[in-house]
């Protein structure tokens, strides 16, 4: 039998024997960023469609979680940097070829925007809220006047935020598992699904919950389609991508991926949401928690498995 034995003298920390340079910080940020993108996207969408009275939670209440998620995500990103004191270098350059540069600048737009949106609607939760300074009141008045413009900017920037996390990975041809353009739409869909789930959880309005359950169901369908499509693409590609797919089709990530991400994170909540739409009484927290859990696991598994997939030479 022909055999090939490769012995390498290299043993660099975090690189060998298997690349593991990105830890929990990156997938955590990817989840929080995706969730924030989902929340802001729906808020912007229904503002533009003049449905802010109908879908009050989605437009006014749920997006208040976005700045919290983004700030926590940014903290995670900051913790991941090895040369932390130089982080400001991200903002002295714009590098169009680097997805990470795009991401840094998108966050620079989305984070303040989510904070402004929260400030605009904080009186919906705390009616006695007092800004104390007239300048702030006037500023918020100004933003209210230009709410539609703001919503358009938010719609576009949140879509970029949601999709860029996937593009960040897919731009690395060195890691065959990540090197698929499906990851962008898949992560966007997963973020939108997580956002819709949070709206379902927070909303007390039956019509709104029904609308977002329908939306979530549709997005889960899209996610499943994208996952199947991704594996079809891998299996029809080169050996390294076939090997990457095999990490999930019999390899070490098979059980966590299919059980946690696909079954518990997509199929079970989809069935539960479907049953609820048909009139069954199901505690809303169950499908919501499962969707969020699946969304977290998707990022963790793709981030870790991607680092395990490589070119052989």
């Amino acid at each position: 039998m022909r055999e090939e034995v490769i012995i390498s003298g290299r043993n660099n920390p975090l690189i060998d024997p298997q690349l593991h340079v990105w830890h929990w910080e990156i997938p955590t940020y990817l989840f929080l960023g995706g969730l924030a993108a989902g929340l802001l996207f729906f808020a912007a969408l229904y503002t533009i469609r003049n449905k802010d009275e109908e879908y009050k939670t989605a437009v006014r209440i749920a997006p208040m979680l976005a700045p919290i998620a983004l700030v926590l995500g940014l903290v995670a990103l900051f913790l991941d940097l090895h040369n932390k004191l130089y982080f400001w270098r991200l903002y002295t350059t714009i590098r169009l070829e680097s997805p990470m540069s795009w991401g840094a600048w998108t966050l620079m737009v989305v984070t303040p925007l989510s904070m402004i949106w929260t400030a605009m609607h904080i009186k919906d939760i705390f009616p006695k809220w007092n800004w104390k300074f007239d300048v702030i009141e006037e500023l918020i008045e100004f933003f209210h006047k230009h709410k539609r413009t703001l919503a358009w900017i938010m719609l576009i920037s949140s879509a970029i935020l949601g999709i860029y996390t996937g593009i960040l990975f897919s731009a690395f041809n060195a890691r065959p598992l990540w090197n698929t353009s499906i990851l962008g739409p898949l992560f966007l869909a997963s973020g939108l699904s997580a956002g819709a789930a949070v709206v379902i959880w927070m909303s007390k309005n039956h019509a709104e919950r029904k609308r977002f359950a329908q939306l979530d169901l549709m997005i889960i369908g899209i996610e499943l389609f994208l996952i199947i499509h991704m594996f079809m693409g891998f299996l029809a590609s080169t050996q390294v991508q076939i090997d990457a797919a095999n990490l999930f089709l019999g390899g070490e990530y098979t059980a966590p991926f299919w059980i946690f991400v696909v079954f518990l994170g997509m199929i079970v909540p989809a069935i539960l949401e479907g049953m609820e739409l048909k009139g069954f009484k199901i505690p809303v927290a169950i499908p919501v928690v499962l969707v969020l859990f699946g969304s977290v696991m998707l990022r963790f598994i793709i981030a870790y498995a991607g680092q395990a997939s490589r070119w052989l030479y």
Partner: protein, 173 residues
Amino acid sequence: MAIDTKKCVGCCDCVVACQTENDVPIGYCRDWVVEVMDGTYPQLEMELRSERCNHCENSPCVRCCPTGASHYSEGGTVLVTKNECIGCSACITSCPYDARFVHPEGYVDKCTFCLHRVKKGMQPACVSVCPTKCMYFGDLDDPRSEVSQILKKRKYKTLIPEAGTKPHLYFLI
């Protein structure tokens, strides 16, 4: 740079020379030796390769760097500017050769082709110490340079050319 896999004996002198010359932290290396045993017993073939950063012409690390710390320098060498690097590790994941690592001081480090020596007219540390003289370093744009001449005469390969990085490390076979 061209490396003669037929002459290399895998002594790792290049590795030690690099670590000494460049003050590489203990436990890390910028170059390393790979031993590949291939074939059906007893017809076995062994190849020894002294590997390092390929200083690619189409470098994914330069492309994905969000701050521009990874850049092309003189003669097409790929370098990292220490105080522009934020240590995000994007370049590390982008490199199909896994040639980079995070220096304990926080920035990303790798082979520089000993540009500081080359500028003074010397050879890179690894090349200068090689006891079998299996490495050739020079200007590939100059058809009369030793490295260009040897690549004309000998058969060679590059590592993972299908990754599209246009590597500049040539292994004579």
